[in-house]
Amino acid sequence: MSVQSAFADALLAAHGGCPVGLFSSNGADPASRFAVYRNNVQSSLINALAASYPVTLQLVGDEFFRAMAGLFVQANPPTSPLINEYGSRLADFIQAFEPADSVPYLADIARLERLRVRAYHAADTPALCQQHILQHLQGQENLGQLSLQLHPSLATLRSPYAVVAVWAAHQNDADVTNFSPWPAQNAVVLRQGLAVKTFAIDSGSVSFINCLNQGTGLEMAVEHALQASSEFDLHQCLTLLISHDAITHLHLE
């Protein structure tokens, strides 16, 4: 085994262990010094997760979160030097993590926080001018054949829990014991200018937005949205998208 293979394995191992071939010039046990590296690696990655998942952390407390994140780090070390992106699989890990079962909405909150990080760093595709979109939509005879492209920050989340309400209840320092994880909510996350925003939306809007993100034309997207929810309101959904600068291209199919 190479020097760095042995070193890397020992850094991520759950318990102790020090690679061979190390020494300290004062004769100290090299394991007591190697521990600095182990701690740097594991705590820096746990800190990175804590920074990306602040509400997930608040919901279970610092001690529980750090212990859970430590197990995640050992099982899923980063595979890229872009630490901003680290932890995209934390929500799935939480979903399967039995000690967190008592907070059943925890994984969905983590999913929402991941979408917010992605939106924060998404590309700066310029939005179409709101006036231009409105003119185009109003003057268009063939509305159904129109294709809308959405901002790369835009993403949705379906949840059986009140993900947006739970997340919003943890956005200021106020007492957050008073929130309910029900009724179910769906979320949309987007970045308008520099600000990442999160809204609760109906199930039809989720289908509509997902269709547009996959390049589906307006007519088909509306059809899917109405299948998901007969109460889907196209006008309301378009108003949300237009007023938050979420439409970047318009073209006829």
Binding site: S2, V3, Q4, S5, F7, A8, L11, L12, G21, L22, F23, S24, S25, N26, G27, A28, D29, P30, A31, S32, R33, F34, V36, Y37, N40, V41, S44, L45, A48, P77, P78, T79, S80, P81, L82, I83, N84, A119, Y120, H121, A122, A123, D124, T125, P152, S153, R191, G193, L194
Partner: protein, 291 residues
């Protein structure tokens, strides 16, 4: 609102960092800096933080770059890694340098990736002929890809390797000689490593190719102890710069003359005014060696 920075200078026109004190750019200080325009010599950022598609990071770095000289400091290239440099990461770095035209690019004498895994720390190297050849090949590749020289930072270390056959200073000197790269002399790292390995810091510094120093780093350390209860210093960038490091810095400057100097603080970041005061202290040291 424009979200991208359009460079107005070509690489050949970008001068090196000014011989002044600079600060790491912290998100919590951005508003302060942009509103009050403090007289800071330059700002330094970690390259990897800005390898994202868009959003606030690029917006603010563009504004900073219009107002201040910029130093780009890599923490993820794994120059000392046993494997090849990651071509995707290299391509991202080229794009970032093209976009912001920094006055300096620096990286570490360390490794941080192994196989598919990124370990998010600057890990130590065994100093032997094989490692030397590998590090030099990586630096040659990097400098020819970036079409500019880089600065290599001396490490802070906690253990030593039995298979090392060269002193750290000989290893670094030979890299500088073979590759023509410059040296980022981290005075805190010198102090931390020398305490940890029972060396004399000034002897260590005098064994380095000081003519190649293009930037100095100053930072604070944390204190721990090893199995013998001996002092074990940890380079955590989480405290004010220690008096011993300030004294060593002054001695370095009498040897090098004025050099761009960064105050590094990445953990327990205090108010901007606290870091600004450390920058002013460094500028007083620099003023004493200006001829």
């Amino acid at each position: 609102m424009t979200l991208s920075y359009s460079p107005t200078v070509s690489p050949a026109q970008v001068p090196g960092l000014p011989h002044r004190a600079g600060l790491g750019l912290k998100t919590e200080h951005l508003q302060d800096v942009l509103e009050t325009r403090p007289d800071i010599g330059f700002f330094e950022v970690h390259a990897e933080n800005y390898m994202v598609a868009g959003g606030p990071f690029h917006h603010y770095l563009g504004l900073i770059r219009e107002r201040y000289p910029l130093s780009l400091h890599g923490v993820g290239l794994s120059i000392g890694g046993e494997g090849p440099l990651d071509p995707e990461h290299l391509a991202r770095l080229v794009r970032l340098i093209d976009r912001y035209q920094p006055h300096s690019f620096s990286e570490h004498l360390a490794w941080s990736s192994h196989g598919p895994v990124f370990l998010n720390d600057l890990l130590p190297l065994a100093y032997d002929a094989q490692t030397l050849a590998r590090v030099c090949a990586h630096i040659d590749q990097l400098q020819s890809t970036l079409k500019r020289p880089m600065l290599l930072e001396n490490p802070s270390t906690y253990v030593q390797f039995q298979r090392s056959t060269l002193d750290e200073t000989d290893f670094i000197s030979e890299i500088v000689r073979r590759t023509g790269c410059g040296l980022l002399l981290d005075v805190n790292n010198v102090y931390v490593s020398c305490v940890n390995h029972q060396r004399d810091p000034l002897t260590y510094i005098d064994a380095l190719p000081l003519h190649a120093v293009g930037e100095i780093h100053l930072a604070g350390f944390a204190e721990d102890s090893d199995s013998l209860g001996d002092r074990l210093l940890i380079d955590d960038h989480g405290a004010p710069i220690d008096d011993a490091v300030w004294r060593l810095y002054e001695q370095v400057l009498t040897r090098t003359g004025p050099v761009a100097t960064l105050i590094e603080r990445d953990n327990r970041v205090p108010a901007f005014s606290v870091l600004h005061a450390e920058a002013r202290q460094a500028e007083r040291c620099l003023a004493q060696v200006m001829s």
